[in-house]
């Protein structure tokens, strides 16, 4: 990689992109079947991810049901995931936290195997 290309990439990172593109690339490649990614495509994905973080944070904050308006909590985020169609894909990784006792109770209510 010539010195100029490195310079260009560093400038891109400093001025326009906060997330490390190398890490984004690693994550992309850990997806099954993903082959090669063009450098510009990688840049677009990185930038889109940044926008996503901003979007998610803002959305959650605005629709936050917490009493404290100057705070963003886990449940604010979980709420945003459930309410917005766009963020639906996140529901797998952010189950709404429930109290342990409620969970245990719901286990008791499940039909037991072997009962006729």
């Amino acid at each position: 990689m010539s010195a100029r290309n490195v310079e260009d990439k560093v400038a891109v990172n400093i001025k326009h992109v906060s997330l490390p593109m190398s890490r984004v690339k690693l994550i992309m490649k850990s997806s099954p079947d993903v082959s090669n990614i063009n450098q510009e495509a990688l840049f677009l994905t990185t930038k889109a991810t940044e926008l996503f973080v901003q979007h998610l944070a803002l959305s959650s904050y605005k629709s936050g049901s917490g009493k404290d308006h100057n705070a963003l909590s886990y449940s604010d985020l979980a709420g945003a995931a459930e309410e917005s169609e766009t963020f639906q894909f996140l529901t797998d990784i952010l189950p709404k936290k429930i109290l342990a006792k409620d969970y245990l109770k719901s286990l008791e209510e499940l039909p037991e195997e072997g009962d006729n």
Binding site: D8, H16, R23, I27, A41, K47, V53, L58, N70, Y74
Partner: protein
Amino acid sequence: MASSSANDDDLTIPRAAINKMIKETLPNVRVANDARELVVNCCTEFIHLISSEANEICNKSEKKTISPEHVINALESLGFGSYITEVKDVLQECKTVAMKRRKASSRLENLGIPEEELLRQQQELFAKARQQQAELAQQEWLQMQQAAQQAQLAAASASAAQQAGSSQDEDEEDDM
């Protein structure tokens, strides 16, 4: 942040980068630690989502490499179409900046000197170098000459001495 297990599933965006972005987006807002951790994981999930979709689009297009077009189409089909304009704008901006920088640095290399002048300077340097070489060659030749002369002189005096020695011998013989 060292991790003992290099598990693909553990790959995430560095926490510090996320924290910085959250701070810039929501200044003066307290964000719980578990919420931050969640955002980090959401990022990874988002990247996987986009990559998979873009990859599918890429496969259908029978191309081997995921291109910007594939990513843009993926964003559109997944409901993130609103990101597209800004993402494209930034890409264009970067290309322009990169182009300007390349032009500027090549201009710097020339120091603003036109090509003709550079050629003239080059010819001058070559001529100078040739001259220096010629002078060196001449010096060497002279040295060789001197060395050869000295060698001749030495040989001549040696043979002269020898001759003088042999005539002396003859005299001695006569005396006897």
